[in-house]
Amino acid sequence: MMVMLALLNRVFTGPFYARNAGTFLVLVLLAFGFLSANEHRALIMAALGSPFFLAIVFVLWGLYLLKTVSFVWQELHAPEHLFLQTFWLVSTPKRVVLWLTVQTALLFPVLLYGGWMLQIAVQQGWWNLFGAILIFLLLLIGAGALLADFRLRHPNPDTLRLPHVSIKLPYELFFPTYWLRHEPLSLVLTKAFSGLLLAGVCRLYPTDDYDQRLLLIGLLIAILGHAQVGGQVSAFERKYLLLLPNLPLSWVQRLGRYALTYGLLWLPELLILLRNCPEAIRLDYVIWLWLSGWGWLLLMHSMAYGYEVLPERWLSGIIAAFVVGLLLIMFGLPVGVWLVLGWLGAVVVWYWSFGRRNGTEVTVPQ
């Protein structure tokens, strides 16, 4: 049993934390960089004192559970992990215990914070809340284990069962389709974050004497919300489109195709910007804003594609980009300059990485 647990931890727990190291680092920085232990304690007291606030905490924990389940399902489906189907042959009680242990490890950050909340609930003598939190935490572990086991017993080719549409799919839609079918949670979270943020910033605009810098800050954060997409495109093509580097396409043709793909992915933000455009803002400014975002997405793609970037290093870059970008916006760098910098940067970085030598080199795993 310990051998099996060690194997499951190597397949699920280790890679989960490795892949999300960047996210955890941001959360730790945000949670403990800005807030002291006393302030956290005050937050927990507030959560324990308000059913609504506590419900928000539960929803956040639920989202984290979804993230862990999505990861386990994805890994169970990966061709390199098909051998795990034999895990089905292990007796059900033993299998459930193993899944519960793995899920506990995956939920560790939530359990840690939940444990702190439980301790405070005990100190305050709020036994009802203690019971509610404890039951919810146990439910999270149980639900995660059950969902993982369900996937093991019901393997199917697509994470999201969408009907197969019998139309010829152009290359520019390969990744968007993959993202939708195989990593839908990532797609929904990325687009929801970006879309809601831009809509919120647009609606906030008329409420005070904001200037156009507010929209640029919103754009900056929305773009940084897409920071992982370049790595996802790169991983998708390295895994499933090994033949790409063999195709006789120049670096310009390749970049052009990615530009179209990112244009499609970024299109919803144009609709959101147009729909929520503040009256004080001219329409052409909104178009420039959107075009700048497209260019910066392509720049991030150029920087990420084909490289195995360590999550910590990538995250450091994102944080640095945010700080520098914020400063430049506050100093009044106009949208036209952002537009030129984004597109020019994308072309220069892409040429530097793939155009100078043979235009097609990518690191393909051994």
Binding site: H164, F174, L243, R357, V364
Partner: protein
């Protein structure tokens, strides 16, 4: 036809392939070697899939790094164990690759019929068997007007009837269009009925003429 000089391929600082000098005449060349000997790495490198140091020159004219597009227009590659996005169909992939390789009119249909890919033309590759995936990868490797086709383990998972048609087609391409082929196989390559120009041994990342 193909000249390789000072080729070194390393993964994480560990050299896995060294080819100081190799000249291949036009024809069909068979590369043999045990598992992990470096055959696939050599093929992928020549196909332009992997970064490396050294030079690879096709027909004394097209250098893989200096003329990346022209070289890749003339060198095709079929993987030993092809993997494609599960939601794509043979039609999607051939359309994309055929356009990039400038496939002549009618070629896709003829090859699809020859290899039997037309029978699962609009089926997602996620529903393919390993043999069907193999047929699709072979079809993609024949698109355009290549001067050199690299076939990594073309016999594995392929049914006997399709294999016979494939090698007949390869023989024709060799005779009529002077297309060259590099093959690897763990099966008896004499069964293909092809006239083998040269046999090479790959062992521990070193390519030598087979005795």
């Amino acid at each position: 036809m193909l000249s390789v000089a000072n080729l070194t391929k390393a993964y994480n600082g560990v050299t896995v392939l060294t080819v100081p000098e190799l000249h291949l005449l036009p024809g069909i060349h068979y590369f043999r070697g045990g598992n992990g000997s470096g055959k696939t790495t050599f093929f992928r490198t020549v196909a332009g899939l992997l970064p490396f140091s050294g030079t690879v020159l096709l027909e004394n004219q097209y250098e893989i790094n200096r003329d990346p597009v022209a070289y890749r227009m003339r060198v095709n590659y079929a993987e030993a164990e092809p993997v494609y996005p599960t939601f794509l169909t043979a039609r999607d992939l051939t359309s994309f690759v055929g356009k990039a390789k400038q496939s002549p009119a009618g070629q896709v249909d003829a090859l699809a019929e020859l290899l039997g890919v037309d029978t699962f033309w609009t089926k997602p590759t996620g529903q393919f068997s390993s043999g069907m995936l193999k047929k699709l990868s072979l079809l993609l490797a024949m698109l355009g007007t290549p001067r050199l086709v690299l076939l990594d383990e073309p016999l594995s998972t392929l049914d006997v009837a399709t294999a016979a048609r494939l090698f007949d087609y390869i023989g024709n391409l060799r005779r009529e269009q002077d297309t060259s082929f590099l093959l690897t196989s763990h099966q008896d390559v004499s069964l293909t009925g092809l006239d083998i120009t040269g046999t090479w041994q790959v062992s521990q990342g070193v390519v030598t003429p087979a005795l």
